[in-house]
Symmetry: C2
């Protein structure tokens, strides 16, 4: 009996932001393999499934990718409907490629269920559109941590120090002071608006606005929070919102 | 009696890819203001609402933004629960900023419901992750059409001709031949993988893969299709998939 693998995007964490298809797949799954980043309320929807944490954490060294691949294959080969649950959208910074290659290589049928990216959720909570008609026609996402957890060494500074793009940094809390110094050295004004969004739509959600220099100073001073966070910078719309705090360190204006 | 405005992301078109919250808001709405790009099956979920097309089409000149704003305010001031439905994710290339400013300015309560971007949906259908661990650590979205429908004049070529980023062009079918010529002139190899995704998850869905030069030649030869389309280029994973056709014009390899 052949199994089936659903790569399911869990969205940012709020079960109301699961897609209808994702909710359906969780309800039908025999086994759900989930990361530490996946939140409890989403898992609660997998009512009949065995829940298996696979323990990967974004931004940290992980020797376990092969073990995760093997676990997916083992459950599928036992004829089970496997849900591989991934935070945000499955195709973004989530090692989908490696798992997909393993499943395809084994000849196991699969599907990918796209989801709400944490980027879109954070922008919605903050009331800040990701694009602006005249001033922000390009949006870019990058990772602030390579496989060793450090700022990637090969960065396109002309791309990421562009004051006319909105940039979103994944897994960037630790490296942002270093990144910000580089951005400013490459011409990005230190007073460029910035925002950090932690635990978006989850318990402990916190959004703070500042500037690139101000946020770098705050993260250098306070260190990273344990919550997963996204950092936004660029021509962010200046829309005040009760959901967003302003960081004193960045109150240059 | 004060009304309420929900800016709701409709996702790529398949109602199964609505979020649970979006489905709830559609079911509860008094009136739904939708664009031409929104698909019928999603609208069918608004069972008790008046459905009002507001006729904007992405990438075409529109003198109507003020009229759309006024319509949102008029319905909300009449005490209704207004759903302003937006294709894909509401915060991406959708003029959310202007509508949000109007609603905030009028002191009307609102929410933003994020959704599945068409980018994430297209990547899922094609089985192509948007990021790759070593070769595609940056993803960027840009628009291929300014307010007059032409290729925007101020482009950051160092950013968008980067062979190590995955780039997604919104509303870019008409201008892609011109864009591709510029990219190649700025050093992007003509044989860089490219993909065009039309009507993702909707009736008439079509995904074709080629190269930057091959896709530009095909679009120059055949003209744009009437369906909304996203164009991807960069180090796209070379994963063959039954859902994706290969364009003969780009079959250099």
């Amino acid at each position: 009996m052949a199994g089936f693998v659903s790569f399911v995007s869990s969205g940012p964490g709020d079960p109301e932001l699961l897609t209808r298809r994702a909710a359906d797949r969780l309800g039908a799954a025999d086994v759900v393999l989930y990361d530490d980043l996946s939140s409890g309320p989403v898992l609660a929807m997998a009512q009949r499934a065995e829940l298996v944490p696979v323990g990967k954490r974004a931004g940290r060294p992980s020797a376990k990718q092969e073990a995760v691949n093997a676990l997916i294959l083992a459950h599928a080969r036992a004829g089970r409907h496997v849900v591989r649950l991934k935070s945000g959208d499955a195709g973004m910074f989530g090692r989908l490629e490696e798992e997909l290659a393993a499943v395809r290589g084994a000849g196991i049928a699969f599907e990918i269920v796209p989801g709400v990216s944490s980027v879109n959720a954070a922008a919605a909570v903050a009331g800040v559109p990701l694009t602006r008609r005249l001033t922000a026609r390009r949006v870019q996402y990058l990772t602030g941590a390579d496989v060793t957890g450090k700022l990637p060494s090969e960065l396109n500074w002309a791309a990421i120090a562009d004051p006319h793009a909105v940039t979103v940094v994944f897994m960037g809390q630790r490296s942002f002071p270093e990144l910000a110094a580089g951005l400013i050295a490459h011409g990005l004004p230190p007073e460029t608006p910035a925002m950090i969004a932690e635990a978006v739509t989850q318990h402990g959600q916190r959004l703070r606005r500042s500037t690139v220099a101000g946020l770098a100073a705050a993260l250098r001073r306070d260190g990273p929070s344990p919550a997963p966070a996204l950092i936004f910078y660029g021509p962010l719309a200046e829309i005040s919102d009760a959901a967003v705090e302003w960081l004193a360190a960045g109150a240059e204006d």
